[in-house]
Symmetry: C2
Subunit: 477 residues, 2 copies
């Protein structure tokens, strides 16, 4: 089973449409395809071939896209390196993936200098060689490999196939709709599935991508209000900053703007309501690298009724809770569908990723009577205290509901009496005392769940996709 | 490889959305699913089981939909009988398909009385039995079987799988977009792929269907102008009647209205322009029963530049011309993609439908330099005259361009001197003489292509989907 080459087909079918825009420049699908073919030739000249495994390290800019699309034409497997990682972390991924080539944006070359990298400037200057274009793409072909941020242990390299990406794009379209004039604002990293999946949707839908090198709340707010973009992906913390910009300018989203997709944990209802006031529908999503982006989404309309939920699965997907039959019972979240990775590479290649077709996420959650998913916690963050299970997210949610709190993070610390106890770190919006916040918690959750200590911070540790890193919090104690 | 049961999943994900509306009644997806489950139980009580082959004969009304959705829950294969056929034609299909059950709308029971049919009223009255719901549908599962209208020879029963229908729906969405509030007006027969594919899109997209028992130009025009519907499928001859209604009422399409999909041959540019004036984008399509609906479409914007073209393939599909490499060369049209039937049933089950993954359509056409498909003719209608190939559609197109001509049909008749010669039948808009029309032809096409005789008629012979039946024209001579 194959797909027609997405780049050629998209160029053939809607070559005149805008594919990518960056700052003041833009490229149509026909232009993108021409450039991608040229890059494919240049990469071939440098030795890259079909099925080569190629690690790429770059910032979110057009050249990164050209290189990736060139690789896709050649038919190689791309290991997407996270530019925020330290050299030893990059070394681990390059070695684990056994990448034959390391392609690097000149600015970042120091980070991978031990691996004989090919600079983007060298690719640019290469004279294209003949290559055999892949007219048909096998569904099982590995397009990308991403190392999971992995809250514990060694990162695992996740294979994402053409079918994974295609199913993900189609399922999203069946959920929120698509229109030929959609433009998706991408300020999440291209090397993460959040950003990479926007490129895949672009090719599959024939949709424009408005690319930012990094998140910019003010510019994003302006584009949302002027209607130059129709969709945006982000994590909760970015949302608040955008809303503030929209509100301060006394503006509202353009009627052309359709939705913000927000991942990385539940969004406070207060934000959703503020977004609504601004005319911005917010869809909360749950997904991971192993599911090539979102698996469930919560519609704006359900946000208040289903606080803390990640919604329902997309059309092609199924979600169930391991070992439970009743609504409300907590357990490991299992996922089934064509978006689920067939497996890992490198040292984890022997680890089975699916059991009887179901991905074991390691996350804990439940389904309510209506089938809405609630992710209670990442299993690895579970705090066990005096035999009771404590889920940090539950405590954070309570703290976040306090008007003085902007961000909250909770983790477990060892305790002689209880084994483990929760402690909290908070970033404030306005002045408040720790006692006041703890008293506030005490009103709403069982006493064993109330943090034993609460400290203030200027910021919380987050990874490149802005997910809270609770294991880092542990080091703060 | 499986899909989640489309009926259950759609009910789960958007149960509150409108699924079907008919006259003054309407049903949500949750209601439709409840009814379908009840019908599945009733059918089970009557002996229908998973993989039973069930022939269904009915008019386009909600009960027909209930029966079909019930069959889909049970997991049986539906042979879609055309209610306009005569009893011997129906007998052929029932026998060829070896249908175990014949389900019939009470009004039509006489037509299949020799086959021990189960009346819809008996299904309605049955007491539902327990049945095993199909939670997962195999991609290769046969959902529907349709006999091709086949311009010559015995009709062939075409298998349409879940994957065929899914790919068709997704490819259409990737072409024209989808939105959760779309409503597709269906006045083409449900037993044909044109109508049945609207139901499949409804389930896959979560889209409403506005069902008409039969085509009604006046009501259709009203709904298009009031915005109660967003899409409509039709053949060219219906388009003109709708446009007349819109024009006479000095109205225009609602901004909510998105597109008319028009199959069954090229639409005169004059119609496309009139439609544009009315705010109605018209997409001309090319497809067949073997491709589970459209394979190529021509956008409104290209209609004038590419007169007579059927456009470009949808995203997942490929089209090529057998044995040719150069643009403009005529030959048999070949189609590749997941929408292509895996094969026929009954007496044609041994006939290979694909050769190395390509469907041989029997239609003749060419691709221009930009890759636009032009269907020159159905191969079986080819007229060979003095060694020259004559394509009836080419002559019809010329006649249709004359302001006095509303419809035109051309076929070959035996001729002592030339083997075969073309003759024409014309339905007039305003008075005109045959000599005048033939002189008009002579100005535009080679003399051997000019019809040897031109007669006037009140209407031309068309099948249930309004396709011109040239083989019937032959009998008029």
């Amino acid at each position: 089973m194959t797909y027609p080459n997405w780049l050629s087909q998209r160029s053939h079918l809607s070559g005149g449409r805008m594919a990518l825009s960056f700052q003041e420049q833009q490229w149509t699908f026909a232009e993108m395809n021409e450039i991608a073919l040229e890059y494919a030739g240049k990469l071939t000249a440098l030795g890259v071939a079909k099925e080569s495994r190629v690690a790429i390290l770059a910032r979110s800019n057009p050249e990164f896209v050209f290189v990736m699309y060139g690789c896709m034409h050649v038919g190689c497997e791309m290991v997407m390196l996270n530019e925020r990682l330290a050299p030893p972390e990059l070394a681990y991924q390059i070695e684990d993936s056994e990448a034959e080539f390391v392609l690097v944006d000149d600015e970042l070359k120091e980070k991978v200098k031990d691996y004989n990298p090919i600079l983007f400037s060298s690719i640019r200057e290469a004279v294209p060689a003949e290559f055999e274009i892949q007219h048909e793409w096998e569904k099982g072909r590995t397009i990308s490999i991403m190392y999971t941020s992995g809250t514990t242990g060694n990162p695992k390299g996740v294979r994402q196939t053409a079918e994974n990406h295609f199913s993900s794009a189609v399922s999203s379209a069946l959920n929120i709709g698509i229109s030929p004039d959609d433009v998706w604002l991408c300020s999440v990293p291209l090397f993460h599935i959040s950003g990479f999946s926007i490129l895949m949707r672009s090719l599959i839908y024939g949709m424009g991508v408005r690319l930012y090198e990094k998140f910019d709340a003010e510019r994003s707010a302006k584009e949302i209000c002027s209607g130059t973009v129709t969709h945006m992906s982000m994590v909760g913390v970015m949302l608040e900053r955008i809303l503030r910009n929209v509100e301060e300018a006394s503006l509202a989203a353009s009627p052309r703007f359709k939705a913000i997709l927000a991942g990385g944990g539940p969004i406070p209802v207060a934000y959703i309501k503020r977004a609504e006031q601004c005319g911005i529908p917010v869809l909360q999503t749950y997904g991971m690298t192993e599911t090539s982006s979102q698996t469930t989404t919560l519609q704006s309309a359900d946000a208040e009724r289903k606080i803390g939920s990640s919604g329902k699965p997309l059309f092609l997907y199924q979600v169930k809770i391991d070992g439970t039959a009743k609504a409300g019972e907590k357990g490991e979240i299992l996922i089934h569908g064509p978006q689920v990775t067939p497996g890992y590479i490198g040292r984890f290649s022997g680890r089975k990723v699916q059991e009887e077709g179901w991905l074991h996420t390691g996350d804990v959650g439940y389904l309510d009577e209506e089938g809405f998913l609630f992710v209670v916690d990442r299993r690895s963050d579970l705090i066990v205290s005096g035999g009771e299970n404590i889920y940090p997210a539950e405590i954070e949610k309570v703290l976040l509901a306090h008007p003085a709190v902007r961000e909250a993070g909770v983790c477990g610390v060892p305790d002689e009496e209880w084994g483990e106890v929760p402690v909290a770190f908070v970033v404030l919006n306005e002045s408040a005392e720790a006692d006041e916040l703890l008293a506030y918690c005490r009103e709403q959750i069982a006493s064993y769940k109330v943090p034993k200590r609460l400290s203030f911070a200027d910021a919380l540790p987050r990874n490149a996709s802005n997910k809270l890193l609770r294991r880092e919090l542990k080091l703060w104690n």
